[in-house]
């Protein structure tokens, strides 16, 4: 029996690759929930219907393309009539639509507010022929200048991005002026840099069904703004100044609450979740909230990473470690803290929190939930643009907008049950 040939040294991961993998594994950026949902739904659909094409265009594909083509024609028609209508009225913006949008054509909105509320499909629909079908992408708030400066940046996708449309308009290659005009209006309608409109499905997401209540208890009639977070999440550490600012900005009828997530066991999140609820049981969580972030990420008193290797500590900080830290920070006996953490009340809180995170479809931290009904993240507030320059202000503005919407309802409880 001959030994397998030795692996060439180039194929072995070196220290750079190892460092990259370590850092990558710790990163908290994730694919969007809607992309994931679309993929799994498509896989399930194909498995159910057995419509996986064998070779080339199947009858199923042909039907799909025909439906999409009809949809395209219909959409162009709707957009054209919309812009015509717009020019006759008060320059009302049209919704962002793309040529592979579902064949279902929604009625043209009647007001800018309705435009902002125009539901955008959460999933980017499949394009059977990628070169001819286009996908819906969020309006890119940084690229509003691309209509006049298209050469500076390439469209992030084949979708109806400003740069792509500007080029097609200028070159006259892909679309006529008649087609470009309504699309430009449509983009302007959803470009937050140009207008205050926020779009469901892009900047925030509807939680369906709305979560009836969070494990926190806000006063009746108050609009609840919940941050799902973990002390051990570095993005949450960076985000807490924004949360502090948001809390200070909320109107009197809104209340900021916190739900610690525990879905990342590798980074000790369950321990920090329990610690949060123990601190809450002892009435010291507000006093220690920001300080605990600092203890993990600045002073290193409860760091989850080894400062030298930057790898996760083994073992990670324990509840005892946390208890000693709380003892110093809030003047409670460490044993009292440990007892609180082991209490039935705290156990129930952790279960409720996990359930809330699941049912609100939270897939990353930090995530903000408004009244159990709307979900957003710093990334979604920027429409997925990772280079968004004013992310903090956008998050605050978006939350205030959603709070305002909820406040407008007669009763928040009634709104939640919608």
């Amino acid at each position: 029996m001959t030994a397998p040939p030795p692996t060439p040294p180039e194929d072995l991961p070196d220290e750079v690759t190892a460092a990259y993998r370590r850092i990558s594994a710790l990163e908290h950026a994730h694919p969007g929930a809607q992309a994931r949902a679309a993929i799994l739904a498509e896989a399930a659909r194909a498995a159910r219907s057995g419509q996986r094409p064998r070779h080339g265009n199947t009858f199923g594909d042909w039907k799909w393309k025909a439906a999409a083509s009809i949809g395209v024609i219909g959409l162009v028609g709707v957009l054209t009539s919309q812009i015509f209508h717009t020019s006759l009225t008060a320059n009302k913006p049209a919704p962002v639509l793309a040529s592979n949008a579902p064949a279902r054509v929604a009625p043209a909105p009647e007001s800018p507010q309705e435009v902002a509320e125009q539901p955008v499909p959460e999933a980017i629909h499949r394009a059977p022929t990628s070169s001819t079908q286009r996908a819906i992408v969020p309006a890119n708030p940084r690229r509003q200048d691309n209509l006049v400066n298209a050469s500076r940046s390439v469209a992030p996708s084949q979708a109806l991005s400003p740069a792509a449309e500007a080029d097609s308009g200028q070159n006259g290659a892909a679309g006529s002026a008649a087609r470009a005009a309504p699309l430009a209006a449509a983009r302007a309608a959803l470009s937050p840099a140009l207008s205050p409109n926020w779009a469901q499905g892009i900047h925030y997401f509807l939680i369906q069904p709305a979560h009836p209540s969070s494990p926190t208890a806000v006063s009746l009639g108050k609009v609840e703004v919940t941050e799902v977070f973990s002390y051990a999440c570095p993005a949450c550490d960076r985000f807490y100044p924004t949360v502090d600012k948001l809390r200070a900005t909320l109107p009197a009828n809104a209340e900021m609450t916190f739900i610690p997530a525990a879905f990342n066991q590798a980074e000790d999140w369950p321990m920090f979740q329990r610690a949060y609820y123990a601190a809450q049981a002892l009435g010291i969580e507000q006093k220690t909230h920001d300080a605990l972030f600092d203890a993990i990420w600045k002073t290193g008193e409860l760091a989850i990473l080894d400062p030298v290797t930057e790898q996760l500590k083994v073992p990670p900080p324990s509840l005892q470690d946390a208890a000693h830290w709380y003892a110093k920070a809030a003047d409670v006996a460490a044993q009292t803290f440990v007892n609180a953490a082991a209490s039935v009340g705290v156990e129930n809180k952790t279960r409720e929190a996990d359930e809330f995170v699941r049912s609100a479809q939270v897939d990353q931290t930090p995530t903000l939930i408004v009244n159990g009904k709307y979900r957003l993240t710093p990334g979604s507030a920027c429409a997925g643009d990772s280079r968004c320059p004013d992310a903090e202000q956008r998050v605050i503005n978006l939350v205030l907008y959603l709070v305002q919407r909820e406040s407008a309802a007669e009763s928040p409880a009634a709104k939640r049950s919608e």
Binding site: V16, T17, R21, H28, I124, V137
Partner: protein, 185 residues
């Protein structure tokens, strides 16, 4: 929730099961590889929405190809090859509209977002930023190796380059990143 049988199944076996209609097998497969594929795309295009869109295209291609899938190579090699082709296709279409642009220019700015900035210090941030700043072909070679765990030979097949070229790209990428790591130690 993963079932034990699925945990033990190879990727290739799961793909065959999915081709027979077992959607749980696909879910397992997807959960195993979602993040690595997405990171490869994300680091290449530096835009969350575009990475999501490409991720869908890649996995839709997996779905479409399930019936004809034959395990002639590791599943991950095939998967990352699909991902690479999606990137190239996207690049080509972008170039069609912007012939004076290069893919490198799309991702010239390193991603700068809370989660990224907040990684474990400058060291991590600098490494990721440096990966994103690598010239396109070096970046692809490095990411296919680091995320896709592909060998040089597999990368050569996926990217249509010859073995020595890939070897040189990967060596150069590693060298640049190593230099950067040393600067931050």
């Amino acid at each position: 929730m993963l079932r034990m049988a699925e945990v033990q199944d190879s990727d290739e076996a799961l793909m065959v099961r999915y081709a027979r209609g077992d959607v749980h097998a696909f879910e397992t497969l997807y959960q195993r590889h979602e993040m690595r594929v997405w990171r490869y795309l994300y680091r290449s295009v530096c835009n969350h929405a575009t990475a999501d869109e490409l991720l869908q295209e890649v996995w839709f291609a997996v779905v479409r190809s399930a019936a004809t899938y034959v395990a002639t190579a590791r599943f991950t090699t095939w998967l990352f090859t699909l991902a690479h082709h999606q990137l190239v296709d996207r690049h080509r279409r972008s170039k069609g509209q912007h012939s004076h642009e290069a893919l490198d220019e799309i991702s010239a700015d390193p991603i700068d977002e809370p989660s990224r900035r907040a990684e474990s210090g400058q060291h991590a941030t600098a490494l990721i930023a440096a990966v994103e700043r690598l010239p396109e072909e070096q970046r692809h070679a490095f990411l296919l190796h680091a995320e896709g765990e592909m060998t040089l030979e597999e990368i050569a097949v996926a990217t249509g380059a010859n073995y020595e070229t890939v070897k040189s790209r990967l060596r150069y990428a590693r060298s640049r990143l190593r230099q950067l790591l040393q600067e931050h130690v």
